[in-house]
């Protein structure tokens, strides 16, 4: 007998699109919930159109992008026009037999559909409703829109990243879509467990932008408690803990130490970099010995933390003259063997192809995808001894599961289903159907 999955028997109506919302629902599916993604072909999820992730030789189309695939694994998918009275009636039937409704539309779009929380709880009194609007559903600017990078900017996260004296580097991806997704999943899991314990559902009103503020570490308290000015000399200090010559203030990453930086490695390629950090005098001594005790490093000014902080430029130049002689993985291995904190800067290719740890732990699982073929999906970053999370289903092709959801789950007759395709409920009237959609109707 197979073990029950953690969310066995939980059904999720997933109205989400783009990244943050779908990533949230993806994890509910990974824990065994039955996730049904609701889409409409005239307003395609933009990840279905991500031009950078259609593999060579695969016919472009809404079912052909690698980015949509990984973000929407472990879900089934239906197409339904909830803006029509008939579509609204169908979605209410689905909600009535579901546990969670999750969406990341702009604020109050669900109310406009006639699916606000007041309506949802009439249909299903203990429903858990997770909204993930950029600014949330309440507050005077709830109508403000955000994509990940703008949310990061507004939250204070962007300002924490970069070199001093030049514009912020920010985050080179939508961190608040990945992490906003985490919070969406965490909210759903938490509210669902509360429902299981008390019988009561609720609306959880998550804000993507505000999530970012809570991820700035102690920068917030340094302002409110110490009154520290954010814009100050030598801040942000790049990959260092503090910038040489500037007054020592914490950079909210951990203790103030040196060396602590990125260094070029052998090969000189775009990602041939490693990082090295010495958290104690002993770790610095270990590094000096490992470098072969070069004459530049044999300097009493570097024996103390203060001295190393002051002379970071000199130390970093010296370290880099050594790191450039070693390949980045070899360098990290040597450092680690001698008690020095060092890791390679890893690109996406490095993580998939070269990272021995991720390979050993089985970070990527392959599944068959109807358009992409044998395809890698990212696993959960934890192992559960009793109820392991599973990649069990490739993402839905658009409208792929209409028949099984409408007929088997909601009890519509085949005739009603066919009518819905003719009257624009399950597929736009003017849009040609994909062969698999027609096939499913036979």
């Amino acid at each position: 007998m197979s073990l029950p999955r953690p969310l066995e028997g939980i059904r999720v109506v997933d109205f989400t699109w783009v990244r943050a919302g779908p990533w949230a629902a993806r994890w509910l599916g990974t824990f065994g919930a039955e996730v049904i993604k609701v889409e409409w072909p005239e307003n395609l999820d933009i990840l279905r159109m991500n031009r950078f992730t259609v593999p060579t030789g695969v016919e472009p189309g809404p079912n052909s992008t690698g980015q949509f695939a990984d973000t929407n694994a472990n879900k089934r998918g239906i197409t339904l026009n909830v803006r029509t009275p008939k579509g609204l009636e169908v979605i209410k039937k689905l909600i009535a037999v579901s546990d969670v409704v999750i969406e990341n539309f702009s604020s109050r779009i669900m109310q406009r559909f006639g699916l606000g929380y007041d309506v949802l709880k009439q249909i299903k009194p203990d429903i858990v409703y997770i909204s993930m609007a950029g600014f949330g559903q309440t507050g005077r600017h709830h109508n403000y829109g955000t994509m990940g990078p703008a949310a990061q900017a507004l939250s204070g996260l962007t300002f924490l990243s970069g070199l001093p004296g030049v514009p912020p580097a920010g985050w080179g991806w939508s961190y608040l879509d990945d992490t906003g997704g985490m919070y969406g999943a965490m909210c759903a899991l938490t509210a669902l467990r509360h429902r299981n314990a008390t019988g009561k559902g609720q609306h959880v009103d998550l804000s993507q932008m505000i999530t970012g503020i809570t991820l700035t570490g102690s920068a917030f308290l340094d302002k409110t408690v110490n009154g520290r000015q954010a814009r100050r000399e030598g801040y942000p200090p790049g990959n260092r803990t503090t910038w040489p010559g500037a007054p020592v203030t914490n950079n909210y990453r951990g203790p103030t130490v040196a060396p602590h930086n990125g260094y070029r490695t052998k090969g000189g390629g775009y990602n041939d970099w490693c990082v090295i950090a010495c958290f104690s005098n002993q770790e610095w001594k270990n590094l000096v010995k490992l470098m072969g005790s070069p004459s530049w490093a044999d300097d009493s000014r570097f024996d103390t933390l203060n001295g190393r902080l002051e002379h970071q430029e000199e130390i970093d130049r010296g370290i880099e003259s050594w790191t450039k002689t070693l390949e980045k993985y070899e360098l990290a291995d040597k450092c680690q063997a001698d008690g020095v904190r060092a890791m390679p800067v890893q690109s996406s290719e490095d993580r998939v192809e070269h990272d021995p740890q991720l390979r050993d732990r089985g970070m990527y699982t392959e599944m068959d995808h109807p358009m992409l073929g044998r395809w890698k999906f990212q696993n959960a970053p934890f192992k559960l001894s009793g109820s392991p999370p599973e990649m069990h289903r490739p993402p839905p092709m658009i409208g792929q599961h209409n028949r099984e959801v409408m007929e088997e789950l909601l009890g519509l007759s085949h005739h009603e289903l066919e009518d819905g395709y003719k009257d624009g409920t399950f597929w736009p009237e003017e849009m040609p159907m994909y062969p698999y959609v027609e096939e499913a109707l036979k």
Partner: protein, 425 residues
């Protein structure tokens, strides 16, 4: 500026109330404990004698270092009670076992193998409490060739791929290194996934009665948190290039981080605000109010193909408009016109944001030991039926030793004194 997230928090308990968590965590897991504590779990932080090392991380209150004055420790340890315990003593281990008998969750961040070597591994602890969930959150997990490697936030952001995606366009900063974004986010990322693993284990326990062991890896969590970089590689074999303030991508995309007249920047996210004739007109009319529309009101921009073809020119005109306007007016003016723009705010600008005040985000937390209250960051999400709340400030060292050891484990004051004198607490 103070609000509570619920009109009457006393009437409603947090969603995790009733759960007891024993947290033995340093920088890697303290945020996970805070997440659970602020949502109502009874989190007992078990620190080594003399206090957890995270107490010595700055910044400090008024820049005076002291183990009870670390703002970093304050931030990450709200809603927890604190006790001290030397697990390397026989008496310490015995007291820990007694505490695990009534706990739901143990969250620990020791090096792999440390607790089992003390006879405190999952199997040892679960034998007295089969429903116990033990989560180990470590740099690389309990297995694999890098298991024992030393790390820090920077090291994880290097190996996890964050740095390979973050940095500068060469024409903004020549020869720039890959940049590790600040804030301690490797630990946040690890803590979020540990939280999810713990929740999954709770559902399983609710259904089966069985606890389990969770082996969570900060490295895997970080490797999973670079949005499209992995998918782009898997799909096309291409590795992303770093760009200033926007998505790393295989191409040289349009710049979207525009400097403002007052020395700030506004992010004008492309994908959410792709221009069409109507949107460009709306923008141009606003710019024209300030005499800065240049040719954008020209009739030729009522043609979509022209708008798309002239994207770089439009960006130049927009950049000039930005260079002549203050940051605050730009991003809010854009939002009022339905452009999802965001200023690069610092804490200086975030304080007092009326929208945040409306949502009760700024919460006052009392520090009775200092006779003062301070403003802490509130909730990312408003749980309307079971409110988030900071129930107390971070514990002082051993603050709840008497409450837990005498109050719960029924030790006498005399026994407590002996434990302190003999190096157990």
């Amino acid at each position: 500026m103070t609000n509570n997230v619920s009109p009457n928090p006393a009437a409603l308990a947090g969603p995790l109330s009733g759960l007891r968590v024993l947290e033995l965590a340093d920088e890697k897991g303290q945020f996970c404990g805070k997440l659970m504590g602020d949502l109502g779990a009874d989190v007992i932080k078990i620190e080594p004698r003399g206090g957890q090392n995270t107490r010595s991380v700055g910044p400090f209150y008024k820049d005076i270092p002291h183990q009870d004055r670390s703002l970093s420790f304050w931030h990450y340890n709200t809603s927890k009670r604190g006790i001290t315990l030397n697990l390397e003593s026989t008496e310490g281990r015995e007291l820990f076992r007694r505490l695990t008998a009534t706990a739901d969750i143990v969250l620990e961040t020791f090096p792999p193998g440390y607790l089992p070597a003390l006879g405190l591994g999952y199997k040892d602890l679960a034998s007295g409490n089969p429903g116990l969930i033990v989560c180990s959150l470590t740099p690389f997990g309990q297995t694999g060739p890098w298991r024992d490697y030393l790390t820090c936030d920077l090291a994880h952001l290097a190996a996890g791929g964050q740095m390979a995606s973050s940095g500068y366009d060469a024409d903004d900063v020549a020869d720039a290194p890959p940049i590790a974004p600040g804030g301690g986010n490797a630990w946040h990322i690890g803590s979020h996934y540990a939280y999810m693993g713990i929740m999954a284990a709770l559902f399983y326990r609710d259904a089966s009665g069985e606890g389990q062991y969770i082996d969570a890896s900060v490295h895997e969590a970080c490797a999973l948190t670079t949005e499209g970089a992995i998918a782009i590689y898997l799909s096309t074999g291409e590795v992303v290039q770093r760009h200033t303030g926007r998505h790393a991508s295989p191409d040289n995309s349009v710049k979207i981080q525009l400097p403002t007249q007052d020395g700030g920047w506004v992010n004008v996210t492309r994908s959410g605000s792709a221009l069409n004739p109507a949107r460009l007109r709306r923008l141009a009319e606003w710019m024209d109010e300030h005499g800065l529309a240049q040719d954008l009101l020209d009739e030729k921009y009522q043609d979509l193909a022209t708008v798309q073809a002239d994207a770089r020119h439009t960006t130049d005109v927009l950049a000039n408009f930005f260079a002549n306007m203050p940051q605050e007016d730009l991003w809010t003016g854009g939002q009022e016109r339905d452009f999802p723009w965001g200023a690069i705010r610092t804490m200086d600008e975030i304080m007092g944001d009326p929208h945040l005040e409306d949502r009760g985000f700024f919460v006052e937390v009392e520090h009775p030991e200092l006779g003062q209250s301070f403003t802490y960051p509130g909730a990312a999400a408003i749980y309307n039926g079971s409110p988030w709340a900071i129930s107390r400030r971070a514990p002082l060292i051993g603050e709840h030793n008497e409450e837990i050891f005498c109050g719960e484990l029924a030790l006498s004051k005399g026994e407590l004194t002996l434990l302190a004198e003999s190096g157990v607490i």
